[in-house]
């Protein structure tokens, strides 16, 4: 695929992510923060997000497996996940976190487990999509092109 095609593909892909609600305006901000001084900013932040989220999801799984669930703890983790997902613009993940917190407040284990499933699903979706996007970007860069905004 030639450079121009790649670039077009990237733009389309990115647009679709916004349309489908995977990403929101916050992600745009991230991109705007990237510049020559900070060329890998987006990838950096998103990678951090992945790492941290995986940790949080594991903690959540463990916490909800307990005999007697510590909802405060669960809530704290979800709160953090909500914060970080909102910071990078992972909108769908963020939305599930909101519902998740409500169940925590109600101390509803079933509801929490359901949300946990959902959040894991949304997380893996957005992760896959972002990774594909980064790959495309990489291809463009290696082909000597620049990333279209």
């Amino acid at each position: 695929m030639d450079l121009v095609q790649l670039q077009r593909q990237l733009v389309e892909y990115r647009t679709s992510l916004y349309h489908e609600g995977f990403l929101d305006a916050q992600f745009t901000q991230l991109q705007e923060l990237q510049d020559e001084n900070n060329p890998d900013f987006v990838v950096e932040v998103v990678s951090l997000f992945f790492e941290d989220s995986e940790r949080l999801l594991n903690e959540l799984t463990t916490a909800l497996e307990q005999q007697s669930v510590d909802f405060k703890r669960v809530d704290a983790h979800v709160h953090q996940l909500k914060g970080s997902s909102s910071s990078i613009g992972a909108q769908r993940v963020q939305k599930v976190c909101i519902a998740f917190r409500n169940y925590c407040e109600e101390k509803n284990v079933e509801g929490c487990l359901k949300c946990l499933q959902q959040v894991k699903h949304e997380y893996s979706l957005v992760k896959t999509k972002l990774e594909s996007m980064f790959q495309l970007e990489q291809q463009i860069l290696s082909a000597g092109g620049s990333i279209p905004m």
């Binding site: 991230l30 900070n38 951090l48 941290d52 910071s87």
Partner: protein, 629 residues
Amino acid sequence: MTVERIVSETKDPFPVGMRVLAVDDDPTCLLLLETLLRRCQYHVTTTSQAITALKMLRENKNMFDLVISDVHMPDMDGFKLLELVGLEMDLPVIMLSANGDTKLVMKGITHGACDYLLKPVRIEELKNIWQHVVRRKKFDRKDRNNSDSKDKPHADSGEAAGIGKADNNVKINKKRKDQNEDEDEDLDENGHDNDDPSAQKKPRVVWSVELHRKFVAAVNQLGIEKAVPKKILELMNVEKLTRENVASHLQKFRLYLKRISCVANQQANMAAAVGTADSSYLRMGSLNGLGNFHAFAGTDQLHNAAFRSFPPSGVLGRLNTPAGLGIRGLPSPGTIQLGHAQNSGHSSNDQSKLQSLVPGNHNTNILQGMPMSLELDQLQNNKGVTHIGELPTANSTAVFPVSGSLIDSRIAGFSNNSLGVTSNSLMLEGSSQQATLHASNLRDGVSSIGFQNVNTLSDFASIDPLSSQLRDSKADLQGQAAPINCNAGPMIRSVPQEWNAPYQSHLMSCSVNSSIPVNGAMVQLDQCLDRNNSIFHRTMDSDSIGPLNFVDPLSIEHSEGLNSAAMKPPVIEKEGYLMYQPRPHGNHIPDNIGSLEDLASAMMKQDRDKGNPTNGNFGHNSYSHRTCI
């Protein structure tokens, strides 16, 4: 606000290069925040740990202009960090959270945050945060300037604290940090802007320890219920202080007391354990949740830190260490607390000291004593009253090492922000050696340096010396260590019961020699300050405490909180001071020292009567502390 170039000091192109410290446990958000701030051309330092942040700030106060912190953090609650920073370093703090609940925002504001931002944070919002720095600088500067013009703040207070008044010199631009310095504070007492009328809004009045001490004394004298700004102003007799200044300070003080009393209740239980001064003390800290503080304390920082003159940003704004607190007897200026309190001259154990603090008889207002101790001088700079709040008032224990060795516990005069005397928080650390009044006072752990420096500390300070004395005398006191914290207010009050019957307020155990000294005077500063407590046993005067001048904190009592602080610093007149020692008279103290328990219970009763939540704990040991200093 007018964007004024901060021309002072440097010609730096502010806000470019403004030094920001960002704290957030979430790495994603932290990185994002850092990048955004860099984009705004600020100079950024980041950390994911609140403890580390505090450490950095403490090492060099001048390193940063502004702090941005997340609310939810695993190692320390963001609000606590906020208070501490405000008190100790007087830096503007901006809170950050993914949760924009009105209640949380309100909490942030009441704890002193300059601003509250929601995540995800946007660059537009960060572009304007420098205004908070400018605002503070301006006012500080103004104050300083003013101070110059004014005389040194009541030089009379003279007490120990020795806050250097002297130098008001316009440190100026040093601002913040300087403000913490006693010296500066003194100057700023009146903060009005005489000098600089222009444009500036009313300059901030810096409530130095000295000033605060006077304030508390006045409030105590009037009785917390009756304390109206106009009268307080008259009593204080400070030039250039307006009724409005007093009114707003009073409001904060009340809030502070309220807060402490809530905390106190929790802590009430502490009392007993107090025994070992420091250790228990520290323990206490953890109890409350102050844990964080304790962490500080553990290293002795606490005391110091606590006392570090934190300006109670939270509630009261800066508390300057009351150098003057008047605690005469207080051992080294202000530093009563932190264990250093050395000998205020009282013979009694530290406890006595503490107690003496309360009994205030000594005229010096309890506050005097306290701030002194608060001054933390021990700690070092008597800067504002240390956080009394910090004192690990751990609920149970620490509160004054009741057992006789009250003094042992340092009376960490931590006063809660609010006013130093916050009920538990007052950790009077009087003489470090002894009485660590911790526990009870600490209760709030919150940095609220207890009385705003002034009062509590000084009192405590005095307490220390006394406490030591008391210690000896009292054998029983032990239990007392009391829960000074407990219920913060009540404790102090309770005490008074013993002694003075007249005291209504808690007056901390001051009265009871035994009881109070026990904890080393834990004087519950809190209590003292506590409204309820008014304990400052001031009323103690005479009675039981005979020699001790009990500050009758109680008399103050009821003063809602305010009084407590006001308790005249147990004038530690050497012996007279608090040490209620064993007042054999028994009157107040249920047969004096020996029956510390009695005292404690008496106190407790008082509290109960008072309706304070202080639980039983309080009464006992805590009372001893109470000596509201």
